[in-house]
Symmetry: C2
Subunit: 177 residues, 2 copies
DNA sequence: TCCACCATGTAATGCGTTACATGATTGA
DNA sequence: TCAATCATGTAACGCATTACATGGTGGA
């Protein structure tokens, strides 16, 4: 259960409102942990009830906007969680199920779906590589930057592997598809 | 929502009881889609209510064991689903959140956790490679076998990438950890 | 003034997880 | 005969998802 800690992490990087956090989950943090604004508002309320964050109304802002700040207890909780024992990641890959189904029931339109996915992943890869070129040109960096770069490279590698997999799968499916 | 279709796929490969399906989800299918026996029994009841499978009591078996068979309508549903438009996979990687947290809050015991995970993934990789050597020695095969091999290779590649990632992460964390 | 949008929130539903329950069978 | 185990199932809870609601702000 990482959503509360993903929020604490994001607030440790920089305070912000619910909608700002939601937009971070559409970009940086969201590359490896997604959340909708409903989840985020619900969770922020809990974090505040736990005394891990506090919020103040932002005067002069649109609507009822509030800024959330990490409290010392929240930082403690984040440190505790980071070092906690960890389960291996749960893999749930619908594509593999579909390929296995196809291998039993015979050719289908799955190849077209793969072609669509392939172009999506190529776009994602290009986006990650653009970030890498823009933000991580210098090779020598401090610990923090090296860790950030590492996480980005994991995204790049994942997309690369995914693309290679789609290409292999298509070459099999299209042999007789 | 792939659990019902993972079950249909497994039953298309071979009929079986709830407990047999549960044990398949601890092995082959479970490598990319996990399910507990509670989920499986609940879902089997729904599949039967939908007319996609039927079940008969197995005489002479332990307890109330029932065999589930795929019905023609279930096969149709499986084919329909296989070719359906597909969303990109949802990535939820707790490790990346933790690394990002560490990059903000500074050194922790996360390196020890990574060492533990590393050995787990090395075991998984070895298990996959053993299956590959045992079941996929011949390079020339039919479509069905090639697809099965492809899915297994995806598992191998995933574990390999994961291992490389842990090693990189450890080398950064241990510089000063 | 009024419409579109922003920021926050409520409600309903469903899958996934955990704990517990029941009946039957095997083996010591 | 009795304990362990197998096979199936029930119940409760939580996160994730989707649809919808509210109120305020800015621009046409």
């Amino acid at each position: 259960m990482s959503l509360p800690h993903a929020l604490l992490t994001s607030l440790a990087e920089r305070p912000g409102s619910g909608s700002e956090l939601a937009s971070r989950f559409d970009r940086s943090i969201g590359y490896f942990w997604q959340a909708t604004h409903q989840q985020i508002y619900r969770e922020l309320a809990r974090l505040e009830a736990n005394g891990w964050v506090r919020s103040v109304a932002i005067e002069g802002a649109r609507g009822r906007k509030r800024r959330y700040d990490l409290l010392p207890q929240g930082l403690e909780e984040l440190a505790r969680w980071t070092a906690e024992p960890m389960d291996p990641p749960a893999i749930r890959d619908e594509l593999m199920v579909r390929l296995r189904a196809e291998s039993v029931i015979g050719p289908s339109a799955l190849a077209q779906r793969l072609t669509e996915m392939l172009s999506l992943h190529r776009q994602k890869l290009a986006a990650y590589q653009a970030i890498e070129r823009r933000d991580f040109v210098s090779s020598s960096s401090d610990r923090r930057r090296r860790l950030q770069h590492l996480v980005l490279k994991a995204g790049v590698d994942f997309e690369r592997q995914r693309i290679a997999f789609y290409e292999d799968a298509l070459s099999i499916l299209e042999d007789d598809g």
